[in-house]
């Protein structure tokens, strides 16, 4: 098991300082990610779900080490250990120059297919850019590889000379997938890759990604807010709430027998295309997600939790294994029977 491990995220925290006042002193901290741990094995798809603003995207960007680019003063704690062969590399400890040589092993697919492709470059230029950086291919070999990749993602190789604005959203996302696959990476971080697409196109792209995962032997960290999509594609599911990990376990287990009250509420909200089940128990949470600027004490979810107790406000719940491979951050549900939602 352990030699099959690709990445171990241990106690990862990402804090953005907020400056204010005349002399720009630090007035607050946005705790976008506040100590989460999970791991991804080779050829595994880990789904990550949560409401918007819960830190999913930040986790993805921290794992690919591009947070510092937009926010130079971000504070990243914990460790992100990649296992490349015998080498163990902690991305949080490396400088941007040191990270560069590992860039080809981890790629990213972005949420917005309109913004993630440079409008001034042709598709061939976009897809061949990682090849120029990380391989010694000459121009001809690069173009062959681009044509081959375009074929793999279901586009015509002749379309390589076109510009992104000549493609539809789904086609652009395929270009983004081809770019991510260009260097045969070990891990692709998919940051809500289908959220911006039509439902009919979503299914095509998801199935394409699953086919490619099997063919390229790549792992995915699949970030999404659509639970049914995540359940369909993932081997494991991680549920996040306000920068904390609420629950982490096998996809089947988490989807059908969620233990954390937040996961239960989230899953009860998934629309089911089955009228016979329309009377299932629907858990409706009250209120809004609190701001990460001022998180509630103890358990961050306690302000909306249907089973909250006074003790929840005192200590932050331990993220512990409730069943084999099933981690939950709620002491209240520990030892209780499994709930069956579906």
């Amino acid at each position: 098991m352990s030699n099959n491990r690709l990445v171990d995220v241990k106690n990862l925290s990402v804090h953005f300082p907020v400056h204010g006042g005349v002399i720009s002193k630090r007035v607050a901290t946005v705790k976008a990610v506040d100590g989460i741990s999970f791991s991804i094995d080779r050829k595994q798809i880990v789904g990550m779900v949560g409401e918007s603003g819960c830190g999913k995207t930040t986790v993805g960007r921290a794992m690919i080490n591009i947070l510092r680019h937009v926010s130079p003063d971000v504070e990243i704690g914990g460790s992100i250990e990649y296992h490349f062969g015998d080498e163990i590399v902690d991305f949080t400890k490396l400088s941007s120059g040191q990270v560069r040589k590992y860039r080809s092993r981890i790629q990213m697919i972005f949420q917005d297919p309109y913004a993630s492709l440079n409008p001034r470059m042709t598709v061939a230029q976009i897809i061949s850019e990682p090849l120029q950086l990380h391989t010694k291919m000459n121009g001809k070999e690069q173009m062959d590889r681009v044509a081959w990749l375009l074929d793999k993602v279901g586009l015509q190789p002749e379309q390589a000379r076109r510009y992104p604005h000549e493609f539809s959203g789904g086609q652009r996302q395929r270009v983004g997938i081809a770019r991510a696959l260009a260097t045969n990476p070990d891990l692709i971080i998919c940051d809500e890759p289908v959220s911006a697409l039509d439902v009919s196109i979503q299914a095509q792209v998801i199935n394409l990604m699953m086919d490619l995962q099997a063919e390229f032997d790549v792992s995915y960290l699949f970030i999404a807010h659509d639970l049914s999509v995540v359940e369909h594609i993932s081997d494991k599911i991680a549920v996040m709430y306000l920068g904390d990990m609420a629950e982490y376990g096998n996809a089947d287990e988490v989807y059908h027998h969620p233990r954390h009250p937040y996961s239960q509420a989230l899953l009860s909200a998934v629309p089911l295309p089955d009228p016979s089940r329309k009377n299932r128990k629907r858990i409706v949470l009250k209120g809004d997600v609190p701001t990460p600027l001022n998180k509630p004490s103890g358990c961050a979810f306690r302000t909306r939790c249907p089973i909250a107790q006074t003790s929840c406000a005192e200590t932050k719940p331990v993220f512990e294994e409730h069943a084999a491979g099933h981690f939950v951050a709620c002491p209240i549900v520990k030892g209780k029977n499994k709930t069956d939602l579906h």
């Binding site: 591009i66 680019h69 993630s116 001034r120 042709t122 850019e129 000379r161």
Partner: protein, 350 residues
């Protein structure tokens, strides 16, 4: 395949095609390019030195070789040959020697010290726009000044752009303390009274073309930094930049290969107006007498002299209308460029 090429145009190419349809700006552009191109060959077109002289079986090229004393060609004048008179005298004599003058045989520098030149001559067939207070041909000076004005404005604008893009782009891209430092520096710098600085420097050191460009660049690079800072600041948060970084592209490449091509809209649309600014700046300095050293032909100096002799209408009319026509053509270009880059019209009429 040809069809394929036609479909896949980069955004810039589309804008160029759109620009071509805006006749007023496009023709102004073509005319200015041709005129400016021609102005580099002015010594061959407007000059008092002959293009070719054939004297006693030998060929001379005074335009290229420069000074030839009158005695060399058997002309009895002190100093340099007066080729116009040489030509007429040889013609009258029916001599075998011949020479070929440029189409407009007057130089912008020859004044009344040259035999046969008069002050304040009204426009005529030989002097199309008359002569000025020192007997220099106004039309010749006008044309040479055109070349100097446009060259000055272009070199100045391009230099400003290079510095402005690099500094402004870095401010927007790197942000943080670098941005803060340069913002404060620019605020201090831009509050200096630059016209006085230029006047003081010009009164100490004798100004030249490149010194003036240098002084103006020190002042003017600031304008571009604001625009580029904002552009880079906005573009760097877009996903294609994150994608480039996540595949390991260097900061330099990200800035100039990815962000800059997407930040060119203000650069290009602002360019013609910056050129207008450059031309006007030189005219202003020359008018005040702190510009190019005399006797360099310049519109500002001609305007100054013309206003002192306001009754000689051609001396005022010539520089004013030359400036007017040049500036309005550049503005037409600027307007057409702006319209070609307007996303609204672009998306609707595409």
């Amino acid at each position: 395949m040809a069809e394929q090429k036609e479909i896949s145009l980069s955004i810039l190419k589309k804008r160029w095609l759109k620009f071509k349809t805006l006749k007023r700006g496009y023709y102004s552009f073509v005319i200015l390019i041709i005129l400016y191109g021609l102005s580099w060959f002015l010594p061959l077109l407007i000059n008092n030195r002959a293009l070719v002289v054939s004297y006693e079986g030998e060929l001379f090229f005074p335009v290229i070789s420069g000074y030839h004393a009158g005695s060399e060609f058997g002309q009895d004048v002190p100093g340099e040959t007066i080729y116009r008179e040489l030509k007429t005298s040889w013609k009258q004599e029916g001599s075998e020697n011949w020479l070929l003058m440029p189409p407009y045989p007057y130089s912008p520098y020859e004044d009344i010290t040259v035999q046969g030149n008069k002050m304040y001559e009204a426009p005529s067939d030989s002097h199309w726009l008359g002569t000025d207070n020192t007997g220099r041909d106004v039309f010749a000076r006008l044309c040479y000044a055109f070349n100097i004005s446009i060259s000055f404005a272009l070199v100045l604008t391009i230099l400003n752009y290079i510095i402005g893009v690099i500094i402004g782009g870095s401010m927007g891209y790197f942000g943080g303390k670098f941005d803060l430092f340069f913002q404060r520096l620019i605020e201090i710098w831009s509050s200096l009274p630059m016209l006085f600085v230029i006047i003081i420097i010009s009164s100490i050191i004798r100004p030249s073309f490149f010194l003036l460009i240098f002084i103006y660049t020190i002042v003017n690079w600031i304008g571009m930094t604001y625009l580029m800072r904002a552009e880079f600041y906005r573009e760097k948060s877009k996903d294609y930049v994150a994608a480039a970084l996540s595949m390991g592209q260097t900061n330099f490449k990200v800035m100039f290969k990815h962000i800059l091509p997407n930040s060119l809209v203000p650069v290009i649309t602002y360019f013609p107006f910056a050129v207008v600014g450059g031309i006007s700046a030189l005219v202003g300095l020359d008018y005040l007498g702190f510009g190019m050293p005399p006797p360099t032909p310049s519109w500002g100096q001609m305007l100054d002299v013309g206003l002192q002799n306001i009754s000689k209408w051609w001396m005022v009319f010539a520089p004013v209308s030359a400036q007017f026509v040049t500036l309005i053509m550049v503005v037409f270009i600027g307007e057409a460029v702006r319209e070609a880059f307007d996303p609204k019209v672009y998306s609707r009429l595409r």
